[in-house]
Point group: D2
Chain length 90, copies 4
Amino acid sequence: MKDNENTLRRLKSIEGHVRGIERMIDEDTYCIDVIRQIQAVQAALDKVSTIILDNHLNSCLITAVRGDDPEDRERVLKEISEVFAASAKI
Amino acid sequence: MKDNENTLRRLKSIEGHVRGIERMIDEDTYCIDVIRQIQAVQAALDKVSTIILDNHLNSCLITAVRGDDPEDRERVLKEISEVFAASAKI
Amino acid sequence: MKDNENTLRRLKSIEGHVRGIERMIDEDTYCIDVIRQIQAVQAALDKVSTIILDNHLNSCLITAVRGDDPEDRERVLKEISEVFAASAKI
Amino acid sequence: MKDNENTLRRLKSIEGHVRGIERMIDEDTYCIDVIRQIQAVQAALDKVSTIILDNHLNSCLITAVRGDDPEDRERVLKEISEVFAASAKI
């Protein structure tokens, strides 16, 4: 699926970025520059989360809200709420 | 409505908390103690946001997803996605 | 002191902003618009924290690091580290 | 250095965690479970940032604040302030 490919490409780039930060540690790079790169990785992960949530809202959520299973619907809505609450704490 | 009362009570408590921080500044309280109180207010605001989003998911979102207006549905889903993306940046 | 006045003015504006959000709840404003205003308040609080930390670094921290009391120095550095760790979790 | 080894070990574990998330995408794992793993990686990165900042405060910062170069001192304090402001926005 196209969305998965996009997400995967972003994650592979993030993985490479993390490896780059490991090298910075190995080479005793200035602390503040390392922290800035970590913050860049975190911003990139935020972007991936947002893309995945977006897909989720436009597929699973619609199915669950339109479906006949009230428990399934409640679960899906509760998960979104939890993920939002957790994102506020990171 | 009961949920509104809960939200309102929390916001009034947050307002009082902010006034308390103003007094701390007036009395030249130690900077770090002020920052900790600001962080407490932010955690309380996160909680209010989560409660409001929860209500929204269980009312407006359900109505929009089950409704006949595809534009309305797309708008509601997009808003949730945007609010999530913004929360990741705060 | 001038910095305190600036901080105080910002906090009073934040307090007014919170009161405005209470009115929004009273008037049953659309949930997403309320959440966006809460996020704006949080961004304004982040700004106040940053200003206060900045003052702290340029006063208390310098005094402690140059002073003769190793315990005082360790305490001040530890506090900055803690405040940074907490800010990452909000 | 011991701190570097600790940081490096954490980063390697984070890199492995990101690879695990790539596999989850490949295997079409449920969106919400993927987002939760991304949030776990971000919390782990916060921890690494805090450790690095801690080392920085206890080495470079002390040297700069005690040193004779006011520009160097201002730069180091400004960087800490900037890193704190940026962390509030992630």
